[in-house]
């Protein structure tokens, strides 16, 4: 479903501040996999998502989605294969637009935009149905502006929008990090439900090691732009946070430096 072939990404290339953010990274994600990605700050997790979504282009290497070479395809064009939810709860929705207008933008994804009315009654019916499923009462607030919603509600909406039209890959970029623990848990529940119901392939970046092992069926650990650990199946099922940290120190000869991860685990 997703294939990265020896991908490299530098920031500030050929300057004193040059940083090798993603190093010779090769990765294959199969259909139906739900991959969680952990790593300390600067490990290249978000850069990886940005490369997949086309926010940046790699300096070398190739990226394939569902067999299509998208290495140099601009973000808005490859968006048809992807859904994405961000850490910042304001980033996944348009605050000044209403709930139904936001959903319409997602609903019309991949379709040529014309001068037809963007929303019709049939779409509203569908929106109400889908909103009712997430159980936040948003189906009665179609004409409310999204700026009036709480962070959790916005993130739930963003998640729903990202899964409209069943994207080939769902990218989740620490999408619960800015929420309080209880809301975060609810959003994670919704996330797994949407992924299972729609049989989506997903990649979730997280700081929370507990979440990384609890959700999904494969976990990648990144450090300095490389995937240093790739666990799945029985091995992953038996893995504890403690073991994960130990494996990391063995491999990298250093401690897993992540206050947030340790505190939240």
């Amino acid at each position: 479903m997703l294939k990265l072939d020896r991908v490299n990404k530098y920031f500030f290339r050929n300057t004193q501040d040059e940083r090798w953010a993603v190093r010779n990274l090769s990765l294959e994600v199969r259909r139906g996999e739900f991959v969680t990605v952990v790593g300390s700050n600067g490990a290249g997790k978000t850069t990886l998502l940005n490369l997949i979504s086309g926010t940046y282009f790699p300096d070398s290497g190739r990226i394939f989605i569902d067999g299509h070479d998208v290495t140099t395809v601009p973000a808005y064009e490859r968006a048809k294969y992807l859904g994405r939810v961000f850490q910042n709860t304001f980033q996944g929705t348009a605050s000044s637009l209403t709930i139904e207008e936001n959903l319409a933008i997602a609903y019309l994804k991949g379709k040529r935009k014309g001068i037809r009315m963007a929303i019709n009654e049939k779409m509203r019916e569908y929106f109400r149905e889908r909103l009712a499923e997430i159980g936040l009462g948003l189906e009665r607030r179609l004409k409310d502006r999204v700026g009036l919603l709480s962070g959790g509600q916005r993130q739930a909406l963003a998640l729903l929008m990202a899964t409209f039209g069943n994207p080939k890959i769902l990218l989740l970029d620490e999408h619960t990090a800015n929420l309080d623990p209880k809301t975060g848990e609810k959003i994670m529940e919704l996330t797994t439900r949407l992924i299972e119901e729609n049989a989506l392939t997903a990649i979730m970046v997280t700081h929370n090691l507990q979440d990384a092992l609890q959700y999904g069926n494969r976990t990648l650990m990144m450090d300095e732009g490389e995937v240093v650990l790739d666990i799945f199946g029985e091995e992953r099922k038996r893995m504890t946070i403690q073991e994960l940290l130990e494996r990391f120190s063995e491999l990298r000869h250093k401690k897993f430096a992540e206050d947030r991860a340790l505190l939240s685990s």
């Binding site: 979504s53 601009p74 973000a75 808005y76 064009e77 968006a79 048809k80 992807l82 859904g83 994405r84 961000f86 304001f90 980033q91 996944g92 929705t93 348009a94 605050s95 000044s96 637009l97 207008e101 936001n102 319409a104 933008i105 997602a106 019309l108 994804k109 991949g110 379709k111 935009k113 014309g114 001068i115 037809r116 009315m117 963007a118 929303i119 502006r145 929008m161 990202a162």
Partner: protein, 320 residues
């Protein structure tokens, strides 16, 4: 009795200078001009509010519309063709600014200023000289002349008023409808959250190009209508128009509450009329306190500064 000196100022208030002018006429003339500039304000609304793109092309595309209209009159075209020409020229000017911004990645403000300064020369080339008159004697039949002849029994001021009112209402509803189409919604989403728009498969650059073009088409239309209203085109008629358009938008926002598209475009129109009335009052009665026509831009600037600073002032100096 010494006669009030009549200063040749901005050619607006042409109506007021016609001499004997009662309070009702004064009101009607000001509202008419509010409606005329309401077209421009709708254009400014598209860029500043929908696209979040502060577009200064306006100061050039407004006289461009007037100049193209005048040129076409001189070439023997009718007012409809002239208006279409103005719309097209305005859209092109907006497209140019849009390309500077999206292709050459020049910042929004600078893109607009660059187009504006280029248009100054282009407008002079179109006009051939700094100002030209449209005159019935030269066979220029503007929309207002045609309407006057069509309704000979109705006083001209009312004909003009009703026509401008109808035109603006039609434009408002067309714009309302457009902003709710797929493209219109995409334009508004682009102004709100460009990242989201890209992740939803919309090219934000395309939406900017469409929005800025449409905005400047309306601005040029406003210029073409004003050229007919005052039968005169001046190369400097665009100076400060973007700020007076912005003033209309924000005065409307202060006067009327609401965030639906219907209300927002209504805010723009009400704002434009109120703003013109305020400036007309300042010009007509401000004379006694030494207010001169050339103080108008200062008046507008200070008005905009006060409204824009208000939220900060309120926060800093306690609850109002």
């Amino acid at each position: 009795m010494t006669e009030r000196p009549r200063v040749r100022g901005p050619a607006s208030y042409a109506g007021l200078r016609k001499g004997a002018c009662g309070i009702r006429e004064f009101f009607l003339y000001s509202v008419q001009e509010g409606l005329l500039f309401g077209i421009l304000a709708l254009g400014v609304f598209i860029t500043f509010r929908c696209l979040n793109f502060p577009d200064l092309t306006v100061d050039g595309s407004y006289p461009l519309g007037a100049a193209v209209f005048a040129l076409m009159m001189y070439r023997g075209y009718g007012p409809i063709a002239g208006v279409v020409g103005a719309l097209a020229a305005g859209a092109l000017a907006g497209l140019f600014t849009g390309v500077l911004h999206t292709f050459s990645r020049i910042p929004a403000l600078l893109s607009g200023i660059l187009t504006m300064i280029c248009l100054y020369s282009i407008n002079l080339r179109i006009m051939g000289r700094p100002n030209i008159s449209l005159s019935e004697n030269l066979g220029h039949r503007t929309i207002f002349v045609i309407l006057r002849d069509a309704f000979p029994t109705v006083p001209e001021v009312y004909v003009r008023f009703l026509f401008l009112f109808a035109l603006l209402v039609v434009l408002k509803f067309l714009l309302d409808a457009f902003l709710q189409t797929e493209i219109g919604l995409s334009i508004r989403a682009t102004g709100d959250n460009e990242t989201l728009v890209a992740t939803q498969g919309i090219n934000p650059d395309d939406m900017k190009l469409i929005g800025i073009s449409l905005s400047n088409a309306l601005v040029a239309l406003s210029g073409a209508m004003f050229a007919q209203y005052q039968s005169f085109v001046d190369i400097n008629m665009g100076i400060g128009m973007v700020i007076s358009g912005l003033a209309s938008v924000i005065v409307g926002e202060v006067l009327l509450r609401g965030k639906t598209i219907f209300v927002m475009t209504l805010q723009v129109i009400v704002g434009s009329v109120v703003y013109r009335l305020a400036t007309a009052v300042a010009l007509n009665w401000g004379y006694s306190i030494g207010f001169k026509p050339y103080d108008l831009k200062l008046f507008t600037g200070i008005l905009v500064i006060i409204i824009l600073s208000f939220p900060v002032l309120k926060e800093k100096f306690g609850k109002a």
